[in-house]
Structure formats: structure tokens, C-alpha cells
Amino acid sequence: MVTELNPEALIADMAEALRAEIRARGIQDPLMIGIHTGGVWVAQRLHRLLGLSSELGTLDISFYRDDFTRIGMNPQVRPSNLPFSVDDRHILLVDDVLFTGRTVRAAMNEIFDYGRPASILLISLVDRGGRELPIQANVVGRRLHLERSQQVKLTGPEPLELRVQDLAPGDRG
């Protein structure tokens, strides 16, 4: 079974929700950081929709993963690029799929190695449940209740496509 969702429409709704969240919190001039790879695609669109003035930051959390001793290094690692100081700034952290929470934990560890932000908001295109850590998103495009045997995948960057599919038996994704 394959389900397709419209990511551009979800992102447009997320931009509205995020704008309201920023206003409610009284946040001035936030910095946006996308997590490679899908999170960067979502962040690029949100960044444009919100008309943020500071450059978009990107984060590859390969060096901060907690499963390095089990699976070794991902050779497709890309450089992280935070073209600003995060000290005392409000961070909008963007990912495509929120699942166990381990990626977000790794991303926060990495951000804190660059400095001490004033706050971090988490924005995710999809929240598929299955959390293994106490981490929740502030803005979510779509909540899905998926089995472990199901996978949600964002492909892009042009066009963005979001699919839910059943994994073949033995494929652990």
C-alpha cells in the first residue's frame, strides 16, 4: 500500500502555524536550521515563506549519531554550515520526519557545540510517533500513526514528494 501526501500544502500550513508560534513567544529575528537532507528541503521552503532575513543553516548530524559504534560512519556525510553565531539566538530546527527522536537529540548536541542558543523550536513535516526519547515538535505538518513495518519518505528537492509505504519483509529501513 502506498499513500501520497502533498508536502507543499503541508509546508504552507506549517508556515502559518510557525508564524503564529513565533508571534506568541515574542521571538525576534529567529535563525532557521535544516537537518540534512529532507529537513533542509523543508527548511528552504519555510525560510522563503516566512521571509527570514538571516541565511539558512544546515546540519549533518552524522558525527553526532548514537549508533556509530554499531554501524560505522556514513560516507555520504555533508558539511554542516551554520553561517551565524547561535549564542543567545532563537533557533527554528527543521526536520522532515520525527520518529524515535534520536536525530533531534544528535542535532541539539551539535548545535550546542557551536554555542548556547536562547531557545530551540522543533518543526517537523511529519510526526509518525514511535518516540524513544522525550522529544516533541512545536509545529507539525501531519501526524501519522504508522506501524514499524511502514516507512514514510520524503524525496526531492524538486518536486517534493512524500510517500508512506510498507517495507518488504526483512528490510528494516
Binding site: F63, G72, M73, R78, P79
Partner: protein, 320 residues
């Protein structure tokens, strides 16, 4: 059997550029590109190798190489032990294998080895337990692969790639493990032309078979090149009648601002260090705008971080 890569083509040990392919070299350079950003963090380290123990096993004196390996390991959050074995153990009759067994009993995960004998790193890699990785930090006249890769990284950063490049390696090719590794790496990465420039007495027999063009004059050797790599002249070679004198060497092969004009206007000048000023090159060249020598040192840390993290064994074997 290739000691350096496992069945799935991943790096196991890093012993020489020979035996590796362009894809692995490119993976290392790409990973180094990411590690090059780590010093810009407030906390200049990543937690990748936390809880791993790395031993720098140096049977030959070295300050720079050992220091950059040590710093690379520390920026990966590994614990590092430096062991300099000059006379300490060997005078007590302990063999290399005894030394390795003792260190393994201390649950070491990786050896970074430098040794005066060609083939020492391969020997160590053949005899360590399967979960231990070995990095060659220079063995005899054979290889110095991390130096070669940091040179490739420097070239790629400045020239954007390798195709269409002409590269000249100038100096004591005969005794240089750095030159051997560089020649293999440049050819694997597909530069247009590799030249070696040296007096006949400092060229190994049949050097052309490594895939280089030979020049015995500096002017023709560096004409229209994009990259000039100067090698360090070991002063002890002067006694072996291979060279008349340092002064004579500089007169014929020393790089000066005047001679640099033979190369392309945007050619870069590299040197593995430490420089003998006034022997291999003038200070005006070494400290001039075309010199990338200090960047080579910084890049060396990033490249060594990449090699170490890619070769580090996963704890439970090859599960993925």
C-alpha cells in the same frame, strides 16, 4: 587479499594509496571536507569516537605528523596514547609483536604506526586482532598515505578538482615515501600529468613506470604546471655523495620568485614540511601568496580525522 578494504568495500586499514580506488579516496576527501568545519565550532570536537582508544606508535621521531594525528584523534573525542619507541623496549629485547600483544591486552582500538622499515604497517595490520584498525603514518621509503591525501585535499580545495591538472613533484624522489604515495594518489584521481623533477642521483630506477614524466631541469619541469610540490631534502643525503652541496642544490633546484614564473600564474606551491629555507625554496616563496604550506597543516588534521573515523571498526562487526 587486500588488507585495506573489507568484503563490502569499506576501509579496514589505511596502509598505502596503492590498493585503494578512486571511490574510496574521494570518500575520504569528502568526509575531510565535513571535518574541516569542526575547528569553527565553539567546542572544537565531535563525539564520533568517544570511548575508543587510539595508540600513536612511533618508532621514528616525528613532531608534526604525530601532533596532527593526536589532535585529529582528540577532535574525534577518542582517548590517545603516544608511545615513542626509540630504545626503550627494543633494548630490553621486546619484539614488535610483543609490543603489539601488550598494547592489545589494554583494549586498544586503533594503532597509528610510523616505522623506519618499509612494510612495517602492513606487518602490524596482518598481526593485530580483527577488531583493531591500523593507520600508516609513514614506513621506511614505502608510503606516507595520509600526507599524500592531505596534499590531494589541498589541491582539490584550491583547484576544484583533478582533471586537466599538471603537477610537478620536485626534490629527493628516491628516498621519499611522500612522493611515492602522492604519485599513486594523483594518478588514481586522474590528473592530466604528473612530473618528477630531480637530479638523476635522486631518482629511483625506472621511476617512469609509476606513471610520471621525468625532468632533470627545474625550468622545464615546472613549466605551465598548476601545482608544485617541493619535497624536503634530507640533509644526511649530502654525505652519501648523491649531491655536491646544499648550495649547489639550491642553485639548480631551489624555488625562487623568478623561477616560479615558469609555472602557471595561479600555480600553488606545496611542501610537506619542515622546510629547509634557502635549500628547497626561498623564504619569499615559502611565505608568499602562492604558498599553501600552512593550509596543508590544517587540512592534515581534517584528513586524518576522516581516515580514522572511516577505518574505525564497528564493535559488532559488519552489521549494518
Amino acid at each position: 587479499m587486500n588488507l585495506q578494504v573489507d568484503e563490502s568495500g569499506r576501509l579496514r586499514h589505511f596502509l598505502s594509496v596503492e590498493g585503494l580506488n578512486r571511490a574510496i579516496l574521494t570518500d575520504i576527501l569528502d568526509a575531510a571536507e565535513s571535518f574541516a568545519g569542526v575547528p569553527e565550532q565553539t567546542v572544537k570536537k565531535v563525539p564520533l569516537l568517544r570511548g575508543k582508544t587510539i595508540v600513536n606508535l612511533f618508532f621514528e621521531a616525528s613532531t608534526r605528523t604525530r601532533t596532527t594525528f593526536e589532535l585529529a584523534a582528540k577532535r574525534l573525542s577518542a582517548d590517545v596514547l603516544n608511545i615513542n619507541i626509540d630504545a626503550s623496549s627494543t633494548v630490553k629485547g621486546e619484539t614488535l609483536l610483543d609490543t603489539l600483544r601488550n598494547l592489545e591486552a589494554m583494549h586498544v582500538d586503533m594503532f597509528v604506526a610510523r616505522h623506519g622499515d618499509s612494510g612495517a604497517a602492513h606487518f602490524i595490520a596482518r598481526h593485530v586482532q580483527s577488531h583493531v584498525a591500523v593507520i600508516n603514518a609513514g614506513d621506511g621509503r614505502h608510503a606516507h598515505p595520509t600526507q599524500a591525501l592531505l596534499d590531494m585535499f589541498t589541491i582539490r580545495r584550491h583547484k576544484g578538482g583533478f582533471a586537466n591538472l599538471r603537477v610537478a613533484i620536485v626534490g629527493d624522489i628516491m628516498h621519499s615515501r611522500v612522493a611515492r604515495s602522492q604519485i599513486h594518489a594523483l594518478n588514481l584521481l586522474g590528473v592530466e600529468e604528473v612530473r618528477v623533477v630531480a637530479p638523476r642521483t635522486l631518482l629511483p630506477a625506472e621511476v617512469e613506470r609509476l606513471g610520471v614524466r621525468v625532468h632533470t631541469e627545474l625550468a622545464s619541469g615546472i613549466r605551465d604546471v598548476d601545482v608544485i610540490i617541493m619535497l624536503r631534502l634530507q640533509r644526511e643525503r649530502m654525505q652519501g655523495a648523491l649531491l655536491p652541496s646544499e648550495h649547489e642544490y639550491f642553485r639548480r633546484y631551489g624555488l625562487t620568485d623568478d623561477r616560479l614564473r615558469y609555472a602557471k600564474p595561479d600555480a600553488i606551491v606545496m611542501h610537506p614540511g619542515p622546510i629547509n629555507r634557502g635549500v628547497e625554496m626561498d623564504s619569499t616563496v615559502a611565505d608568499g601568496p602562492r604558498s599553501v604550506i600552512l593550509q596543508q597543516v590544517s587540512y592534515g588534521i581534517a584528513v586524518r580525522m576522516a581516515v580514522m573515523s572511516m577505518a574505525m571498526r564497528s564493535r559488532s562487526g559488519e552489521e549494518s
